[in-house]
């Protein structure tokens, strides 16, 4: 951002100096923000990985149970048993602010939470016991699944934010600040040049007067 055709005045110089100062302070702040974001981001990524592994394991277990249930029951009976749910679930979504990034937070609510059997909407005669296990596990997975969604979305949003911050830091670091410094240098050189010109002129005038 070098401007060569600036008005080489003292006013301009002091204005540019102020700008440089602000840019440097901004750069420092943004750099701090970026570091902090990175730190949190890495922590989140780790958590994300953990959650994903946990969820994958539990889902695998659940499918295993479902598989057994499905293998001993005719598919029509299996589907008939779970076609009419007794439990109703609702999802609440909040906003959470992390370093200026708005991330979602979710909370699941069961309508019949005080009744432990409410998640099993079927009778006992025509269903396999393994189905109970599968359904219980599925219900246990839901909070994990939601947390994973939260974390994954937060990761995405934070990655965007980090990207943006880094671009700003880089712009400041490699364009704005060096440009300003360069311009200031040019102005200063011009001013010095002018000053030297003035001095020379004064000496010359003095000589003429003395002669």
């Amino acid at each position: 951002m070098v401007k060569r055709n600036v008005h080489a005045t003292r006013m301009e110089l002091s204005r540019l100096k102020k700008r440089l100062e602000i840019a440097e302070r901004g750069h420092k702040l943004l750099k701090d923000k970026q570091d902090e974001l990175m730190r949190r981001f890495i922590a989140l990524i780790k958590k994300n990985k953990q959650l994903r592994q946990k969820m994958e394991k539990e889902l695998k277990d659940t499918f295993q149970d479902f598989l057994i249930a499905a293998s001993v029951m005719p598919p029509e009976m299996l589907e008939g048993a779970i076609s009419f749910p007794k439990e109703k679930m609702s999802l609440e979504i909040f906003r959470k602010n992390v370093m200026g990034v708005v991330v979602p937070a979710m909370k699941v609510k069961r309508k019949l939470a005080d009744d432990p059997g409410s998640i099993y909407p079927y009778g006992f005669v025509q269903t396999a016991a393994e189905l109970d296990d599968a359904i219980a596990k599925l219900y246990r997975i839901i909070p994990v699944l939601l947390e994973l969604t939260e974390v994954e979305k937060a990761c995405q949003l934070m990655a965007d934010e980090i990207e943006k911050t880094r671009r700003r830091v880089n712009a400041l670091e490699y364009r704005t600040i060096p440009g300003l410094e360069e311009t200031i240098k040019i102005i200063r050189m011009k001013l010095d040049e002018n000053e030297r010109g003035t001095i020379t002129r004064l000496i010359k005038v003095k000589d003429i007067i003395n002669k």
Binding site: S71, A81, P85, P116, G123, V125, E130, D132
Partner: protein, 333 residues
């Protein structure tokens, strides 16, 4: 009942029994590398007739349900008395009733969930307005439907539909067995009810429900009275076992429970109990005059279909043979 009237049916059943899949064939299927080879082994059995209905192996369920339907049609033709088939088909009728009621209450289409082998033609019943539309055609169904609908209006609980219908199913099955006058049928139904009650106790303990709920779901007419289960609900396992040891079905129950405790998998218990049901039907092999062999054949065929489903589902999900072998039920050979 004149037992001599069944001789034709028994002879024809014996011919059909020869076509049941043998233990060796099952073993081959368990060891087969993939689902394609299972189908190859199955060709040459009664299942091959249905191969034309499917375009890929994933649709194996179509083959199984077509075979079930064929077996029931065939046995209805062979059996001189309807009640033998009705006793076996009752579970499908009650399943269809459940689907029908859920369909009506939720106002959705569950046509694909009906199993068309029951006594009643639900395609036909569906078209009528419930419960009054059935007037005259099936008074017994109408009573059941009206009662369940009324219950749903009071409690608004879909689980109660199943529970109520399950109880009616057990009552109906017991009545049918008693009125047939065949001791084997009564024994079978009683054992079935015992096993169901026992399984229910364990499931309810696991689900964390209370004893009041257990009282509602336990079935009547078993060898072991409902009260015994209720009293034992809070007992520890060994005391429970001790109480059951003198019951008629006690041996099977303790065997099943031990298997369950070893692995904590209810599937192991269910397998043990299923195997015991086959043992109960074993005497049908030595009866030549009477309805027992016909009934035993239907159940044997259902068992065969179930075993095939276990093998096919497992193959489809690439389970190792040892794992499949553990799940495959005893067959009526």
């Amino acid at each position: 009942m004149n037992r001599a009237d069944f001789i034709q049916g028994v002879v024809r059943t014996r011919v059909l029994e020869k076509r049941l899949i043998t233990k060796d064939k099952f073993e081959q299927m368990i060891n087969a590398p993939d689902i394609k080879d299972v189908f190859k082994i199955l060709s040459g059995t009664e299942y091959q007739n249905h191969y034309g209905k499917i375009s890929s192996f994933e649709e194996y369920e179509k083959v199984l349900s077509a075979e079930l339907k064929r077996v029931y049609t065939r046995m209805r033709e062979i059996s001189p008395e309807d009640y033998i088939i009705a006793l076996a088909a009752l579970k499908y009728d009650f399943h269809n009733l459940k689907v029908l009621l859920k369909e009506k209450i939720m106002d959705t289409d569950f046509s694909r969930l009906f199993i068309p082998v029951g006594v009643y033609d639900f395609e036909q019943i569906k078209k009528q307005r419930l419960p009054d539309g059935l007037n005259g055609t099936h008074p017994e169904l109408q009573a059941i439907i009206a009662e369940v609908m009324k219950d749903y209006e009071t409690f608004n609980d879909p689980q109660r539909i199943d529970i109520l219908l399950d109880r009616m199913y057990a009552d109906r099955m017991y009545d049918m067995a008693i009125s047939s006058g065949v001791p084997l049928f009564v024994e079978y139904v009683k054992a079935l009810i015992d096993f169901n009650n026992f399984r229910t106790v364990l499931r309810i303990q696991k689900q964390g429900e209370d004893i009041k709920f257990l009282g509602e779901v336990l079935l009547d007419h078993g060898n072991i009275e409902k009260e015994k289960f209720l009293y034992s609900f809070h007992d520890n396992i060994s005391k429970f076992l001790y109480k059951l040891r003198n019951e008629k079905t006690g041996k099977a129950l303790t065997g099943g429970l031990e298997a369950y405790l070893k692995t904590n998998r209810p599937a192991d218990l269910e397998k043990k109990l299923d195997d015991f049901i086959m043992d109960i039907l074993e005497p049908a092999k030595y009866i030549h005059f009477g309805p027992e062999p016909l009934f035993a054949y239907i159940l044997a065929k259902e068992r065969e279909i179930q075993n095939l489903r276990i093998i096919l589902v497992s193959k489809f999900n690439q389970l190792p043979p040892a794992e499949i072998r553990k799940r495959v039920r005893k067959i009526h050979a």
